[in-house]
Amino acid sequence: MATITVDGKTIEAPAGAPLVEVLKQNGVYISNLCYIDGLKPYAGCRSCLVDVQGPPGFQLSCTTQVQDNMVVTTDSDDLKDARKAVVSIILANHSDRCLTCHRREHCHPGDICLRDDVVTHRCLTCSKNYRCELQATCEMVGMSGYEPWVGEERSWYQTPQPPADRANPYMEFDPQMCIICTRCQRACDEKRHTGAITLSGRGWDTRIAFGSGGAIHESNCDFSGACIDVCPTAALMEHPNKWVAKPDTWTTTTCDSCAIGCSIKLGSKDGRGNIVRPNASGNAVSGDQICVRGRYHYDSLKPRERLSKHTVRRGAIQVPVTTDEAIAEAARQLKEAATRGRVGVLVGATATVEEAWLARRIAAEAFKSAADSALGPVMRAVRTALEARLGTWRISGDLTKVAAAKTVVVIADDLEESHNVLSVRVKDAAVRARAKVLVIGSLRSELVDFAAAWVRPHGGEEGLAAAQLADAVRGGTPPPAVAAAVEILKAAQPGETMIVCAPNPVSPAVAGSMAAGAANLAIALFGAQASDHLAVLPAEVNVHGLQDVGVAIEGGPNPLDGLAGLLVVRDAPTMRLPGAAAALDGISTIVAIDSVASGAVKRATAVLAEGRAYASAGTYTQADHRAQKLAPAIQPEGDAQPLFQLLRDLGAALGLSLPADADAALGEVAAHDARYRPAWDLILGEGVRLDVPTAPKATAVPVDAIAAGEGIRIVTGRDLYTALDAASARHPEAERLHRYDHIQVSEQDAARLGISDEDIIEITDGTSTVRAPASVTERVREGTVFVSSLLQGGAVANFLASSVIAVVRVGVPVTA
């Protein structure tokens, strides 16, 4: 630690720390328009000037490192003048009045314009007004109201700028607003390792550009919005709700889009979400990063597209009813069904631990059944594979260790797409820790660019490939093709190696095989400590939480078999289970609780409208058993109620006494499972990692090859962009970029079959058929096609009825 004096006050700070961060942390305002906390200084904006005793002239606080006995002045008149002078130069080239008006060149300050508005000064017509860092900087350095053009004829800058890019559904880039601080470029490069943003031109013509200078969506941008987070002006803005994102409430909660469970801040106005920002202090795995799903899927459907009324089926139509009527009718229907036979309960994996606990109690106490999930078969396949080898499905690997690991093994369909932020951490390891990354996957994922070795098995054989590598590490002779991978594995050191496995979300056979192969590999490398070096990432955010409270532990290969009645708790059987639509049609009583018109809702005899995860209070237990808190950030639409409340009231109508709120429910969970005690005790903070001991055993069990017929194999997996709830409702804009509503075909197969981009093609196994436009790409290997697990409402599940790898015929449909 060093002691420094700032404006006469004594401050303790770590020696060598960037002075600008120390100043900010100690409440000393310092303008800095290009610095990003934690990254190397850029020293471009020149506004963070301070006076350090000793060297001549003013210093930049971003490039100054704290030294003991340093004496710093931040508030002398000279400094204030110097800072103002620098900011005035920035303002000289910052767009000002009436930017968005086509008539702006005809108006003068104070004119009354056709819209009966006074011609505005500067920020009033800017979408970032009142939340702009440049604006705040001007106020803080005493320049609000500063007019660079006083006394001149013009009142705007006449340098033509490239037109704004508003061509994609996620973000807008308006070069007029840009001050070339390059924060976006550095965030994209150094935080995301994407490098989609660059500087083009030079001198006065220096510009921020995406890719090689075209539209954002034509670059390799993955729309994480890390650039938006750091942009000090309105140059980079979220497209959705751009003009209204001035929240009255910011709520810290947890993203519901994948098992990383990134901590987010959701801004809302009048109960509706309008912006999401990462919450850097919440989840140590995600830190200050989220992905396109976390940032935009709060907005996956417009409020009017969500369920706002409870309904009861009368004949062929769904009739709106009050909440009380709906609960009573749902309870009546379920009780009636229970007299006829078995009533099943399906819980979706975006339900919280507390909601799942209620559902499980309803299943057990009202219907004497075990609550299951549409993901149940996949969950059980993974669990079985892990328990056979490690004695438990709760794997102790800590995901915060990925970013600093020296060796990272990734066994996944495409980690970049399924668990994006963890993929960023793998890249952190590769770039910052110079880790050797080994990717085992049939798809050419973006991580391959960061990998020291890539093993590319045939589709569905990732687990087998991992198990074979495990055998090779143990002493077998590796095939030459994987020799490099074996070398990396043999050099992997305990304590600095992580094996990350993201089992397939659709096929139980493939998912189980992947988990088994990953476990075998961990055992081969680290023996009894295997589980400490392994993380298994489930397909959805709260899979582990569901399993912890006993959901989906028991069950057969198809949870819809043999039911007289069904309670669906925000679950999507039609997206997960083969032949689910027909099976649902055969169940006479279906009570569905959901926020969207899912396949189950459409077939339900009673529908309870709920308010999706962001309306919930509760807990998610994510991939490495971090219990992350959710707080109600939005209001359910219309009559819809938070899911917990509906379950509680439904339970009451079924004659059960259930906990009154989420906190009480978590208390019951903690009593049932002591590992949840710290989560229940948590008062401050957004999450806590549950205690997961090293697995009790480490015994490799051979992994069998999965039988597959002749033909083109389907590779499936979660894609990065499709919204789960919108896909469940089969919304045409569930995937707004329209990249993954395509069937991806390899270049070789496309050439052989005469398929070009955008051709409508058909894949069929004789029973099921999916028709979609083709996208020819090197991402898929010859002999496979990739179909997103969420394409057309999860249509691909229908191909995976058996435990074999699905094989299809592919071609251009014959038209009559």
Partner: protein, 520 residues
């Protein structure tokens, strides 16, 4: 067989040296004489290019400027015997322009065949390296320090101190980088040397590598110098073949090799940190300092970045001893400085003199005054960011400190002369315009401030509220000078402020009037 020298230097080629050489090769055999044509470097007397020299018993006789059409008549008039006549200037060495110089660095340039190692050795080459190989690295560094050599790129930082810093860094990969991104207006010394005496530079860089423990050197050559790039690459190849570069330099235990890299076509890439970024394959953005390149330079490793002329001075220092070199010069500016006379100059070219020569001696004595014959009005020393100095300051000696005392700077030694038709307000505007075009785009004052400067000067030129705009211009200059990241933005106010100080009359009248008044 008579030896005839026709320069292969880009400056000579640009005025037809190639055609002259062809004409000689064609016409001489036609007259039954066999000649050997040697493509030497330039002597640096550009008004005489193409300068043809003929070797005679008395020495080399100079003819120039020779046009291809002159060749038959010259041959018939006894060119090969060195007979006097039209275009003949007698003994080259006796031409006052050359005779009055003190050529250490450029001693061989134009004399030897640039690609002949034998020629280079015959004229004293590789004596410096031989001595260096006999010394410890620390002793080499001390020799350079004792010579008083200061960076010839512009900043004038003592070369010995820079080398010592790198030498003192922990062992590991270190680099030598020669800055040959010669972009200052009116400068050409780097190019002349790369084309005219490349082994000197290779020798200097090799000595530097041995001195600081670097095994790899890069030379970053301006992209507008394709001819120099080819010439220097060829010289590297020859040196490598001869074992003067490579795993065992001259058979010693030292490894050193050089790679020539073509620049990225930006003035800012001559700034040392920007140059390093560019060498690393990135956009040429200036880095902030510290860390100094000597501590974290190329690829984050300790790096000596010196101007090409600094390296070129080193072989002489090692061969003749520090005292020999330090014996030249004045004050804290030791040794010789290759000055480059350009602009409106009667005798443009290279003048290497010990520090202490006055600007007047250089411009009037060597340069012969303006080419137009009109009175000299302003001189810009040190490139586009150097101050504009009036005629009254011409007696200032060429010396880092003396020039700084009058608000000027030596820079890379370029001297550009303007006669009395120059509009200094336009020149001030040009300085801002230059900065706006050549800024790396990183720091605000340089990128935006310079454009704002152009506009404000335009307002002045349009006579709009001149006092207020001049005050604004002064403010802008202050921000540029104080808050810019590197010397480009920091020095841009130099020409602007000096023009304002020395030539205020040009800012107070419309440009058309200026020209009419001065030319009337």
């Amino acid at each position: 067989m008579t030896r005839v020298f026709v320069p292969g230097d880009a400056a000579a080629l640009s005025v037809g040296a190639e055609e002259v050489a062809e004409a000689l090769a064609r016409e001489a055999p036609a007259r039954g004489v066999s000649i050997e044509i040697i493509r030497n470097g330039s002597r640096g007397m550009f008004w005489l290019e193409p300068l043809v020299e003929v070797e005679t018993a008395a020495g080399r006789i100079a003819y120039g400027p020779v046009a291809p059409a002159d060749v038959p008549a010259l041959l018939d008039g006894g060119l090969l015997e060195g007979k006097p006549g039209a275009l003949c200037h007698g003994l080259t060495e006796a031409i006052p322009y050359l005779a009055n110089q003190e050529r250490l660095t450029f001693a061989r340039c134009g004399v030897t065949d640039p690609f002949s190692l034998d020629d280079y050795r015959a004229h004293g080459g590789y004596r410096g390296l031989a001595r260096a190989l006999a010394l410890t690295p620390a002793a080499i560094v001390e020799e350079v320090a004792a010579s008083g050599l200061r960076g010839r790129g512009g900043a004038g930082f003592p070369t010995g101190i820079k080398w010592r810093t790198v030498l003192e860094q922990p062992a590991g990969q270190k680099y030598i980088v020669a800055n040959a991104d010669e972009g200052d207006s009116g400068t050409f010394a780097d190019r002349m040397l790369m084309e005219g005496d490349p082994f000197l530079l290779i020798e200097g860089m090799t000595i530097a590598g041995i001195a600081v423990g670097a095994t790899k050197g890069y030379i970053y050559i301006r992209s507008e110098y394709p001819h120099a790039f080819r010439a220097f690459s060829r010289a590297i190849h020859i040196a490598r073949e001869a074992g003067l570069l490579g795993e065992r330099v001259s058979g010693s235990a030292h490894a050193f090799d050089i790679e020539a890299r073509l620049g990225a076509g930006a003035y800012i890439c001559g700034e040392e940190t920007s140059l390093l970024e560019s060498l690393e394959g990135k956009r040429g953005l200036v880095r902030y300092r510290p860390p100094l390149p000597a501590i974290q330079g190329l690829f984050g490793q300790p790096t000596v970045v010196n101007n090409l002329l600094s390296f070129a001075a080193v072989p002489t220092i090692l061969a003749e001893g520090a005292a020999f070199y330090a014996n030249y010069g004045m004050g804290r500016s030791r040794g010789t400085m290759p000055l480059q006379l350009a602009g409106n100059m009667r005798r443009g070219g290279l003048v290497e003199k010990a520090f202490g020569i006055t600007m007047r001696d250089a411009i009037e004595g060597f340069g012969g005054g303006t080419a137009s014959g009109r009175p000299l009005r302003a001189v810009q020393v040190g490139g586009p960011l150097g101050a504009y100095l009036p005629e009254s300051l011409l007696d200032t000696p060429i010396d880092y400190e003396a020039l700084a005392a009058v608000g000027g700077m030596l820079g890379h030694g370029g001297i550009v002369v303007f006669d009395d038709t120059v509009d200094m307000a336009r020149q001030a505007r040009f300085a801002m315009e230059f900065c706006a075009a050549e800024s790396c785009g990183k720091c605000t004052p340089c990128r935006i401030g310079s454009t704002r400067g152009v506009e404000v000067i335009d307002q002045v030129l349009a006579r709009a509220d001149v006092p207020a705009n001049l005050a604004l211009l002064d403010d802008l200059c202050e921000v540029l000078a104080d808050a810019s990241l590197c010397a480009l933005g920091g020095l841009t106010p130099n020409p602007v402020r000096s023009a304002l100080r020395h030539f205020p009359e040009d800012f107070d009248r419309a440009p058309a009037v200026t020209i009419a008044a001065t030319s009337g």
